[in-house]
């Protein structure tokens, strides 16, 4: 049975359980003459919850675990001898999966039955041709072992899904029957179902923890693999980034870090003054007409996807800077450059700075302004000498948050900054960033278990730690600042 139909059956069972539970509650109450503790619906609800929730959870767990178990089992069946030189077990495993998938189509097309496979009656000699006929292309002729592994793979997957169907439906029925049996008028059905729901609520809120654990685990695990193949000191201190397909790469993070920080710096140079002035102007000067138009307009900038900014950098800003500034002044002739990415990213984080600063400036109590105005200060004096100093910690926090956003930004730099790892001061040169290299190392054709690919995880971990530290610091500062006025 497919996953979809299992889910459907379980849900139908839950509805049936609800109806039965409700009816049973009413009938026992009528028979014994006792009043029900809860509304009859709650009795139905307990049954439905016990039918559906555990069964669906088991289903999800099974779906998650089965491929891993089968993979491990089949992996053991492949002898080292069939692994081609210079290749890897994972490539052979990909073949196994392909064949297993193709076999279904072969069987269907040739109207063969399962026995042919299991008993080895299938004509093995032309497996490759037959598979190619149904659209499964294989690189080379398939060794017998790989074919057997594929048959086992297919077989296990099949038994697995049968097992899953049986177990899930059994759980649903058993728990349903149990909860149905225990319905008595005295059962506090409302409390039971409410406790059940509360448990679900708690489980939902732990997803956030699981996600963080998942991120940290996947980053740390593969980074450790990377450092086993490539020395950590080289990674952190080498100033050369030069990955090679054939190994012997230089994978120093320093040029990438430099590019990242340079682009972010340019972006902040654009966004902080403009964003801050926008916040001040809209909060303290602008009339309601201008505000009602400009504020949403600025906020729209925050809602535009980063790919749009990336394209803007690629087709408009980059060529403009190259043709009108860089080339006439002899500063370079690359359309992707630090300045291109920095300017566009700056525009992207303007609304970020302005809306955070707006909140922070508005959090400065009116009494402060009154105090300053009452002394005869002009509005700009009040802003510059009273409000901004008072709001400074909050604004610093906002800038740190914006910086973290800039450092983690990907699409703008992928399309605007370039791909050359370079340590240079000229902002009209193309440079590259950590995020660009994560994308290029993980979308390339290199084998997964090579340092050239795994370095992306080390880069990701660096990025994660960097942005996390900035955020924690920023949130700490902002919180301290808020407390000051509470």
């Amino acid at each position: 049975m497919s996953v979809g139909s299992i889910v459907l059956v379980v849900l139908v069972l839950a509805v049936v359980g609800y109806v039965l539970g409700r009816r049973r509650a009413l009938s026992t109450s009528a028979a014994t003459g006792t009043r029900l503790h809860s509304l009859p619906g709650y009795y139905g609800q307990t049954v439905a919850l016990f039918v559906a929730v555990p069964a669906l959870l088991v289903l999800a767990a099974w779906l998650f675990a089965q491929p891993i178990l089968i993979e491990n089992r089949v992996r053991g069946m492949i002898p080292d001898s069939v692994i081609p030189e210079g290749g890897a077990r994972s490539l052979v495993m990909a073949d196994v999966r392909n064949i297993a998938g193709g076999l279904d189509a072969v069987l269907r097309r040739d109207a063969l039955n399962e026995d042919a496979l299991v008993n080895g009656n299938l004509d093995f000699s032309n497996v490759r041709v037959r598979l190619a006929d149904v659209g499964v292309a294989l690189g080379s002729d398939v060794p017998r072992e790989v074919f057997d592994a594929a048959v086992t793979y297919r077989q296990s997957a099949k038994y697995g899904s049968i097992g899953m169907t049986v177990v899930v439906l059994a759980i649903a029925l058993a728990l349903g029957a149990w909860s149905l049996m225990r319905i008595k008028p005295k059962l506090r059905a409302r409390n039971v179902s409410e406790n059940f729901i509360q448990a679900l609520l708690i489980a939902s809120s732990t997803i956030a923890i699981l996600t963080t654990v998942g991120i940290i685990f996947s980053l740390v695990f593969e980074t450790a693999n990377f450092f086993r193949m490539y020395p950590a000191s080289e990674f952190f201190f080498s100033t050369v980034w030069n990955p090679q397909f054939r190994g012997g790469s230089d994978l120093g993070i320093i040029p990438l870090l430099w590019g990242t920080l340079y682009v972010s710096f340019v972006a902040l140079l654009v966004a902080v003054p403009i964003g801050l002035m926008i916040a001040i102007y809209l909060a303290d000067y602008a009339g309601s007409r201008l505000r009602s138009f400009a504020k949403p307009a600025i906020e729209i900038l925050a809602g535009i996807p980063t790919i749009v900014y990336g394209l803007f950098a690629l087709i408009t800003v980059g060529p403009f800077l190259r043709d009108w500034i860089a080339q006439p002044m002899g500063l370079g002739n690359s359309s992707s450059s630090v300045l291109t990415a920095g300017l566009v990213m700056g525009v992207m984080i303007i609304p970020f700075v302005s809306s955070l600063s707006d909140d922070i400036i508005n959090a400065v109590p009116q009494a402060m302004r009154d105090g300053s105005f009452a002394l005869g200060a002009t509005q700009s004096e009040t802003i510059k000498k009273v409000i901004l100093p008072a709001a400074l910690p909050g604004i610093v926090g906002a800038i740190l948050l914006a910086a973290s956003r800039a450092i983690g930004e990907t699409m703008i730099v992928v399309l605007g900054a370039g791909a050359a790892a370079r340590l240079d001061l000229n902002p009209f040169e193309a440079m590259t960033t950590i995020t660009v290299k994560i994308v290029s190392q993980l979308t390339g054709d290199t084998e997964f278990a090579s340092p050239e690919t795994l370095v992306a995880f080390a880069l990701g971990l660096t990025l994660f730690v960097f942005t996390l530290a900035l955020n924690v610091l920023a949130l700490y500062i902002v919180r301290k600042y808020r407390e000051q006025y509470e």
Partner: protein, 269 residues
């Protein structure tokens, strides 16, 4: 008709005899559609403490905020009528609200020191108005202002600590020192003691008493005793109207209006 004109004349004569610092004539205030003040006529005399009393929401704070145009900072507030400072209309387009506020200072209900040092709090006003010619000059102004506010002895050793670290009473006196530092001619006080304990209140009242020799003071208060203690003139407001205005002694012993009588006796408010 005749009598009205006659009283007007009489009033004008009376006004010109007395040495008024500020005069409000037919002052009305609207917050959006809501009218908060109805044609108030009230003068502030030189070197006098004028107390504004009345139940909550009667318009006394609103009137006070008119005197240095603090109502300008409220978006939909509108002020009509004429207010003069030394005979000059403060709403005149030529008038610079910045200069006005330098001459008509204000102290607020809740102490609102800036989150800066004590010294910087006091020095802020003189700095923006350019009253000091140098560092020593500024030090001088800060010291004398703090002395006038009766705070010097308590803070002279920690001038560079945060103003927000002072006690409530000290903070309020710091705010008074801050107002005094720009050498205003009038000081407006909006319930300056409502957030203070009795001892701090006594000190501030004592200070008001001393300040009277150099400044005209207008104080809004909820406390009858305070009004009686610190002021020479008292104005009673009710529901946005000025009920009456007279010498404090007379107001508290023999008021003309029944409402004043009732309010002072604590029958409403």
């Amino acid at each position: 008709m005749l009598t009205e004109a006659a009283t007007e004349k009489a009033l004008e004569r009376k006004m010109s005899e007395i040495n008024y610092k500020m005069v409000g004539k037919d002052v009305s205030v609207y917050y959006g559609d809501k009218r908060a003040l109805f044609d108030v006529n009230l003068g502030v005399r030189n070197n006098t403490v004028t107390a504004l009393i009345g139940p909550s929401g009667c318009g006394k704070s609103t009137f006070l905020r008119c005197l240095n145009r603090m109502n300008d900072t409220i978006a939909n507030a509108k002020v009509t009528g004429k207010i003069t400072l030394d005979g000059q209309d403060i709403h005149d387009p030529d008038i610079d609200v910045v200069e006005l506020r330098a001459r008509v200072g204000m102290v607020f209900q809740k102490p609102n020191p800036f989150p800066k040092s004590i010294y910087e709090n006091v020095a802020y006003g003189p700095r923006i108005h350019g009253l000091a010619r140098g560092k020593s000059d500024l030090d001088q102004i800060v010291e004398s202002s703090l002395q006038k506010a009766g705070l010097w002895a308590e803070v002279k050793d920690r001038l560079h600590e945060a103003g927000t670290g002072l006690s409530g009473g000290q903070q309020q006196r710091l705010c008074i020192a801050r107002a005094v530092a720009v050498s205003p001619e009038v000081i407006l006080m909006d319930e300056p003691c409502s957030a203070l304990d009795p001892i701090a209140t006594a000190k501030v009242e004592e200070l008001i008493h001393e300040l009277r020799t150099n400044y005209s003071i207008v104080i809004v208060t909820h406390s009858m005793q305070q009004a009686a203690r610190v002021s020479q003139r008292t104005a009673m407001f009710h529901l946005g109207h000025l009920v009456e205005e007279d010498d404090t002694d007379k107001m508290f012993t023999n008021p003309n209006d029944q409402r004043t009588q009732d309010y002072i006796m604590g029958r409403f408010g």
